[in-house]
């Protein structure tokens, strides 16, 4: 945004004035003090910054009116905003008007609300209005502050946000203070707020407690009413019903007791009579019993005597049968004994024959064993004597074969002599005799020479040029064969073969010896076997020594062992027959013994019984005698008739007593003693229960009365009414206060959130611009850090970092102005005017000159300086315009 021109008419002390500004550089407006510089700035700000309606009536607007003149004040500003070129004209106070004339990019002419809204819209589109307000808030007013201290941009933003155009406490401070009424800075609720909650809770608890206590009183009061309603009825019931009923029941019981006593007397009387009567009957009964007992005894004696007669006969018969059985038993015993003897003998025969047979078998084995041993010894001797063995035999065989082979070779190369007998012929060839029948032929090969001797002649055939080597070899071979034969002690191979065969047979015998011997000895030694032979011999002798008595047909058994099997089988069959005969005899004997035992037992039993009966008869007879004598004695003292009479009298007396007692019982039954007792008990219980109940109720009445009187005096009901009213009030207060607190909290949170966002958005661009301008100004790199409040915290230059307060006054001033300039650049698309009011007459010419130089070297923003000492800004190369007023 650039301001091109401002025109004032009738504004404060200025009747009319118009100033044109350099839109791209510095414009120094020169005017003496009190000539309206501040008015000019205020008017610009009012139009562009506050954007108030022309008809607004705020104090600032009212202040525009010239003193003592009731006229409208006109402010006209020509400016460029973005691509818009426009003139704003406002008349304040009298005949207010608001006119906006836009000349570019298109022409528009607006008035009133439309003019205002359109300007607001254009500004909002191209200018950061908040930042603009913040910048202009103090510009032109407080150069001293700007230059000397660090004016916090954020503080100005705060002030601008709150619209405090004239300073004073800003909105943020007020909101924070308001918030602080209820909350601590960290957002915790303060005591004022929590006290309300505590108050409500306290009253709720108190009301709850009071209600509970009143409910208790209500319950107890109800109970007391009930008790008091119940008591009179109960008391009446006790005195009018229960106690009279008990007395009547007691009277009935007393009557009953008298009757019961009378009955007891009658009962005793009856029991006495009954005792006498029973004694009389008893005496009579005893007499009758004694008489009957004697009769019974007499009958029994007769009966026993009668039984004894046949018993005697039976006993004698049994004695006879016993004797007979004894004889039978003896005979059977004898037969058994004979059978056993036969059996024993037959067994002995079998044993003897078996022993003989065993003896013969063992003896055979012994003989065979001994033969084997002898054969083996003979074979061993032959083997030992033999000079040939299998190896030598093999060698002889080989040597013989070699000789035959050589002989064959000699024969092959030798002439053959063939002799054919034309008649029977005999002779020898080389000493070997032969004999030929007619027609036979004989052929020999002549190895070296051959001598044929016939009866008639002797013919020697000599072979021509024999092979001497072969012959030599043959000689060697023959000598070798002869040598071997000599070693073997044989003539030739056939003898050697015979001798070898013999030797092998002997060795076979030797090899079989143990097998044969084992077979005969069967694990025993030869001596052992001999011992068993001896033993079996001894057994035979032993059997003979024990020979049983010879039977009639006894014969000497053959003990030589040669008895054939037939004898043994025969003997066994005989023995088995004897065994069976013995078994049969044994059975017969057992039967006879059993029969005898039976008859003996029966006989003895019968004899015992008989003796018993006799003793019984004796006892009975003695008893009968004693009873008879006793009865006679008793009758002598009291006759049977006396006893009968006494019984009749006693019975009569007892019946009379019985009758009296029954009459008493009937009277008692009519009274129903159980009922009388029950009625009395029930009446007594009812009376006691009523008394107890009454006692309890009276006690309860007292207790409740005391309690209610005590509690009633506390005024709980009114306390509750009061507490409930207070609670209702406290809840209302709490709700209202909470709502106010919540509004304060919400407002503060929103405000701070928006502020923080804004600060975050400004910090980086602001710092970058300050750094760029500083670096340009100082000709070297400078780094700047801004704090949260957008204040310069540190500056780093040439590697040295200094805090704000460590900087020189000049440096701080420079940075403050650069900060303001940076903000002015940031506040619009192409910055906003930076207005510096030197109205207070800044007095340090040196620093002012430096400031002027600084402004002259900055770029970008439009700068407007209002001063009464324009010379100070000459170095800036600024355009200086006079503020001409009229």
């Amino acid at each position: 945004m650039r301001i091109h021109r401002v025109r004032l008419q009738d504004v404060r002390g200025i009747d009319a004035c118009e100033v044109e500004f350099d839109p791209h550089g510095i414009t120094v407006v020169a005017a003496p003090n009190e000539s309206g510089k501040s008015t000019l700035v205020d008017a610009i700000r009012l139009v562009l910054n506050d954007r108030r309606r022309a008809r607004a009536t705020a104090q600032e607007v009212r202040d525009l009116q010239p003193a003592g003149r009731d006229v409208g004040s006109v402010v006209e500003v020509e400016l460029a905003v973005g691509d818009h070129h426009l003139v704003v004209r406002r008349r304040y106070n009298r005949q207010p008007e608001d006119v906006l004339a836009i000349t570019a990019p298109t022409t528009e002419q607006l008035t009133g609300d439309e003019a205002h809204d359109r300007l607001t819209e254009i500004l909002a589109r191209h200018v950061d209005v908040g930042l603009l307000d913040a910048l202009w808030l103090q510009q032109g007013r407080d150069l001293d502050t700007l230059a000397l201290g660090q004016t916090s941009l954020s503080a100005r933003l705060d002030a601008a946000s709150g619209g405090a155009s004239t300073g004073g406490d800003d909105l943020l401070v007020r909101v924070d203070e308001h918030h602080a009424q209820w909350f601590t800075p960290t957002g915790r609720e303060k005591a004022d707020l929590t006290r309300l909650d505590a108050r409500v809770e306290e009253l709720q608890a108190a009301a709850h407690d009071l209600r509970a206590r009143l409910a208790e009183i209500d319950t107890e009061s109800g109970e007391l009413d009930e008790v008091e309603r119940t008591l009179p009825g109960l008391e009446r019931d006790l005195t009018e019903a229960l106690e009279p009923a008990l007395e009547a029941a007691r009277d009935d019981r007393r009557s009953l007791q008298a009757l019961q006593s009378q009955r007891e007397t009658l009962q005793a009387r009856f029991e006495q009579a009954d005792t006498v009567c029973a004694a009389a009957r008893d005496a009579l009964d005893r007499r009758r019993a004694a008489t009957e007992s004697i009769a019974t005894l007499t009958d029994r004696v007769a009966a026993v005597e009668e039984q004894l007669q046949p018993s005697d006969d039976e006993l004698a018969d049994l004695a006879e049968r016993r004797r007979s059985a004894q004889e039978t038993a003896r005979d059977v015993q004898e037969a058994l004994r004979a059978a056993r003897r036969d059996g024993e003998h037959a067994q002995w025969r079998v044993d003897l024959l078996e022993a003989s047979e065993e003896h013969a078998r063992r003896n055979g084995r012994l003989s065979r064993a001994r033969a084997v041993i002898d054969d083996a010894a003979e074979a061993q001797a032959a083997v030992d004597a033999s000079r040939i063995d299998d190896d030598l035999f093999t060698e002889i065989g080989d040597a013989d074969a070699a000789v035959r082979m050589l002989e064959a070779r000699v024969d092959a190369g030798a002439p053959t002599v063939r002799l054919r007998a034309v008649s029977e012929l005999s002779g020898d060839i080389d000493g070997e005799a032969f004999q030929l029948a007619e027609g036979d032929a004989l052929e020999r090969s002549v190895r070296a020479h051959l001598r044929l001797r016939l009866p008639e002649f002797e013919l020697e055939v000599v072979a021509g040029d024999p092979d001497h080597d072969v012959h030599d070899e043959l000689d060697v071979a023959r000598r070798h064969l002869a040598d071997r034969c000599e070693r073997a002690g044989v003539e030739d191979l056939s003898e050697a073969e015979r001798l070898v065969t013999q030797r092998r047979a002997h060795e076979q015998t030797l090899r079989q010896r143990d097998v044969l011997l084992d077979r005969e000895l069967d694990g025993a030694s030869l001596d052992g076997l001999a011992d068993t032979v001896e033993a079996s011999r001894a057994r035979i002798d032993q059997l003979f020594a024990r020979r049983p008595e010879a039977q009639d047909t006894d014969e000497e058994p053959d003990t030589t062992g040669s008895a054939d099997a037939t004898d043994l089988d025969e003997a066994r069959r005989t023995r088995d027959a004897c065994t069976r005969a013995t078994d049969a005899a044994e059975l017969v004997h057992q039967q006879a013994a059993a029969d005898l035992a039976d008859i003996v037992e029966r006989h003895e039993s019968m004899r015992d019984r008989h003796a018993e009966r006799r003793r019984e008869l004796d006892g009975l007879r003695r008893e009968l005698e004693r009873d008879r004598s006793q009865l006679a004695s008793e009758r002598a003292s009291r006759a049977d008739d006396d006893l009968s009479r006494a019984l009749v009298e006693a019975t009569t007396t007892r019946d009379a007593a019985r009758e009296a007692l029954d009459a008493a019982d009937q009277r008692l039954a009519a009274l129903d003693p159980e009922r009388v007792e029950l009625v009395e008990t029930a009446a007594c219980n009812a009376r006691d229960a009523a008394l107890e109940h009454l006692g309890r109720l009276r006690q309860r009445r007292t207790e409740l009365g005391v309690r209610l009187a005590t509690v009633g005096a506390e005024g709980l009901g009114e306390q509750l009414t009061d507490t409930e009213a207070q609670l209702e009030r406290a809840e209302l207060d709490q709700e209202r206060e909470r709502r106010r607190a919540q509004a304060a909290r919400l407002l503060r949170d929103e405000l701070h959130a928006a502020r923080d966002e804004l600060h975050r958005a400004y910090r980086a661009p602001l710092r970058d611009r300050i750094v760029r301008m500083s670096s340009l100004l100082l000709g070297e790199d400078v780094a700047i850090e801004l704090d949260d409040e957008l204040r310069i915290a540190t500056r780093t230059r040439g590697g040295t970092t200094l805090g704000w307060h460590q900087l020189s006054a000049g440096a701080r001033e420079q940075l403050a102005i650069l900060t303001a300039l940076a903000a002015a650049q940031l506040a619009g698309d192409d910055g906003v005017p930076f207005i510096l009011d030197d109205a207070l007459g800044y007095t340090d010419p040196q620093r002012m000159a430096a400031l002027g130089a600084l402004l002259g070297r900055t770029e970008g923003a439009q700068v407007i300086v209002l001063t009464c000492v324009p010379e100070r800004f000459r170095t800036t190369g600024a355009r200086t315009v006079p503020l001409l007023t009229s």
């Binding site: 009901g717 009114e718 304060a744 407002l747």
Partner: protein, 382 residues
């Protein structure tokens, strides 16, 4: 002719929440005791032969000692016999205030509790009570009491307490007084007058002219209206057919008002405030402000300020619930007038958005926050 004073429902010891927090409660309490003194003066001035109090002399059966003492002092100012009927608040149960030592010991000789049989204040006249014995009677006590009486030429005043069916319509409650039966019994028994209590404003019940509510001497609630009343009753001599003459006498000072307005414009707020300013004896007026409608922040603020300014002038000023009774819709005008810019304007716009978005708690809170912002921002503004 026999003249007597009929009153009821003194409810001494009552606390009202809307009076707490100022000296109004003490004033209210004292005025209610003073009303008893006023009744004594009326009885004296109008030549009443006796006084019947038809129930609820005390707010509770367990009053504070102070209340009881002041009540007994006030009862001592009557020159004629006074008959107290135990009502539902002070029934004759075992824990009844009338059976307490404190009451019995200090009860003036001319004061009688209508707990048992009939009492005769003057020859030829009987006062018959139908007292409550518990909090919840299971029958219509008044009618039953009338049925027990026989027409024998005696002039009888029956004193009862409770609601009449034709007035409240509560037919299910067994204790409700059945008017038709009561009127029949009254005719049968030759009862001259039935003095009823429990209703806080005077009312003739039925058309026999014999059954009346006296109303409370001091109003206690908005439904009572006010000011409080008592009845001066003249019973004609011996002529049963003639109805008694009943005069309603004003004895109370407190009034209860309901100021109701629909607020839609600045003028409505002003009118409401003018209504309030038009109320007389404001120190003894309890005013309930009832509003509805939708207002801007500025209107709401004007209403708040106007009410706050007047709160102390009244016995009690019951304020409307801002968000329940009234919809506050912050408008663009509400906030545009504020000199806000920058982040404050951002915060304002966000709150405005939340306040206008819905009707919930959030919107209400945002409205409150905006109202606060308006107040704080406008402190030194236009």
């Amino acid at each position: 002719m026999v003249r007597f004073l009929h009153t009821s429902d003194w409810q001494l010891g009552m606390t009202r929440h809307f009076l707490i927090g100022s000296d109004a409660q003490e004033r209210f309490t004292q005025d209610r005791i003073d009303a008893v003194g006023t009744l004594a003066s009326v009885a004296r001035d109008r030549g009443c032969a006796f006084v019947v109090v038809a129930g609820d002399v005390f707010e509770t059966n367990q009053p504070q000692r102070r209340t009881l003492e002041r009540a007994l002092d006030a009862l001592g100012t009557f020159d004629v016999p006074v008959y107290l009927l135990p009502g539902n608040h002070d029934h004759q149960g075992a824990a009844s205030v009338y059976r307490s030592d404190a009451f019995i010991r200090r009860c003036p000789a001319s004061v009688h509790v209508l707990a048992d049989g009939p009492l005769a204040p003057v020859p030829g006249v009987e006062v018959v009570g139908a007292p409550w014995h518990g909090r919840r009677p299971l029958e219509d006590l008044v009618t039953r009491r009338c049925r027990e009486l026989a027409a024998d030429g005696t002039t009888r005043v029956v004193v009862g307490h409770g609601q009449v069916d034709t007035v409240v319509g509560d037919h299910d409650n067994p204790a409700t007084i059945r008017l038709a039966e009561l009127e029949r019994s009254v005719a049968d028994a030759g009862v001259s007058y039935v003095a009823l209590g429990d209703r806080h404003s005077a009312l003739q019940v039925g058309d026999t002219g014999r059954i009346w509510y006296s109303g409370a001497p001091e109003a206690t609630d908005h439904r009572d209206g006010g000011p409080g009343t008592a009845l001066v009753v003249d019973l004609p001599d011996g002529l049963l057919d003639d109805a008694p003459t009943v005069e309603v006498v004003q004895v109370g000072r407190w009034t209860f008002h309901r100021v109701e307005r629909s607020l839609d414009s600045d003028g409505d707020v002003d009118a409401l405030l003018a209504d309030l300013d038009g109320i007389d004896d404001r120190a003894r007026a309890v005013v309930r402000v009832v509003v509805e409608g939708t207002v801007s922040l500025a209107q709401a603020a004007a209403l708040d300020d106007g009410l706050a300014l007047r709160t102390e002038r009244f016995g009690a000023l019951e304020l409307p619930d801002r968000h329940r009774d009234l919809t506050i819709r912050p408008t663009a005008e509400d906030v545009a007038a504020l000199p806000l810019a920058g982040y404050a304007a951002v915060a304002r716009d966000r709150l405005l958005e939340r306040a206008t978005r819905g009707d919930g708690v959030e919107a209400a809170e945002a409205s409150d926050a905006l109202a606060l912002l308006t107040r704080l921002a406008d402190r030194d503004g236009a």
